[in-house]
């Protein structure tokens, strides 16, 4: 691990993540997420599904996997058009800052709108990190952004939200370890698909996803 990992997983890295709630805005609207307890539950299910998949894709992309093939695998694991769009939008944002932060020829191999996890893997490699680091950043980002979105939307105590995220660390590590050891996960949560698709049709939303 090098400090590049801290930069990559920093919520202040200007890659566009702050405008995405990872389903939190709609989960709140549908009454599934109301307080610290249900936030923890929501983050767990996100981590175990889209977080695990992102970790696997990021690790594979970082480890020199065929990026076009991985992009197709990401699509197959993301049938929701809204989630695909959110992922590719964030991928583009990460490429924009990543190119400046860690110049590398690998960026040119990515499509114009890569899935976020794949861009993350390339960023990790360009920053001198390994697949496990990439997986960890992906797993961590799958919960850190949504956690702060919930904090903003529900006016939650930021200390509570920070504690929730911090205490998920062992689970984040576990997801990252397994994503590297067991090959590409495909875990999915149909609830997240539904939330994303309903959210995308709303006119009164604060978050992009």
């Amino acid at each position: 691990m090098t400090a590049a990992l801290l930069t990559l997983a920093d919520s202040r890295l200007p890659a566009g993540g702050h405008a995405h709630s990872g389903g939190v805005e709609q989960a709140i609207a549908m009454g599934v997420l109301t307080d610290a307890g249900s936030l923890t539950t929501f983050l767990r299910r996100r981590l175990a599904t889209s977080g695990a998949v992102a970790a696997g894709l990021a690790a594979a992309a970082c480890g020199g996997g065929d990026l076009a093939a991985l992009d197709a695998e990401a699509d197959a694991r993301t049938p929701s058009p809204a989630l695909r769009a959110a992922s590719r939008q964030q991928g583009r944002g990460l490429v924009r800052v990543g190119r400046r932060a860690w110049p590398s020829a690998a960026w040119d191999e990515l499509p114009a709108l890569p899935h976020h996890a794949i861009a993350l893997g390339v960023a990790a490699a360009a920053g001198g990190l390994g697949p496990r680091d990439a997986a960890q950043a992906a797993a961590y980002l799958s919960v850190s952004g949504p956690a702060t979105a919930a904090q903003r939307l529900l006016a939650m105590d930021p200390l509570t939200v920070a504690a929730i995220t911090a205490r998920l660390a062992p689970e984040v590590d576990d997801v990252a370890t397994r994503a590297v050891a067991d090959g590409l996960p495909a875990a999915t949560d149909p609830l997240l698909d539904l939330l994303a698709e309903v959210h995308a049709t709303r006119k009164d939303r604060i978050f992009a996803s």
């Binding site: 590049a4 200007p14 890659a15 702050h18 995405h20 924009r96 110049p103 920053g127 979105a149």
Partner: protein, 222 residues
Amino acid sequence: MPPDHNLDDYVDAPGAHRHGGPLRVGLGGPVGSGKTALAAALCRTLGEEFDLAVVTNDIYTTEDADFLRRNAVLPDDRIEAVQTGCCPHTAIRDDITANLDAVELLEARHPGLELVFVESGGDNLTASFSYGLIDVQIFVLDVAGGDKVPRKGGPGVTAADLLVVNKTDLAPMVGADLDVMRRDSAAVRGGKPTLLISLRDEPTAAAVADWVREQIRVRVPA
């Protein structure tokens, strides 16, 4: 192997990553000060002369974009609305990704684009645009906010390339002294221009439009 860390290779001058392209004008200022009204006025006044488009950063709805569609004679494909995730100032200053995406989308859609207005969500006096996103910025204040506001300063008031004090028609109603506002603005702005206008009385925003024309003129190499 970490890449060779030569900072000089990575950091370029502000705005240097943009070569040509449309002039990007930020419109910032507190809630309700008249940013959208000014954007609409500028689109109407400058729309014949320049190929232009607008990005809106509404906090909650597509209200501003809808208003522009109705009032600025701008077709839908020249207006992009971005979501700011509860943080309007983040979207124009700290993480400008969504706004860059929107501007680039408009540029790709309209290759001849000469002018893009980026309206921020209504925020407070500390909100200002990153120069990674825009070339020049206009901060719009509202006379009804009180004649003390320019004196209070803040990056929006002190550093904006143009300060617009809007709704001068309301000065008698709210007991605001326009001379005080003019004097205080001059005092904190170090010579940068301030315009006092009323979009209600003068809906073409001619003075602001002149300033924008000048920005385009000085930017294009002779």
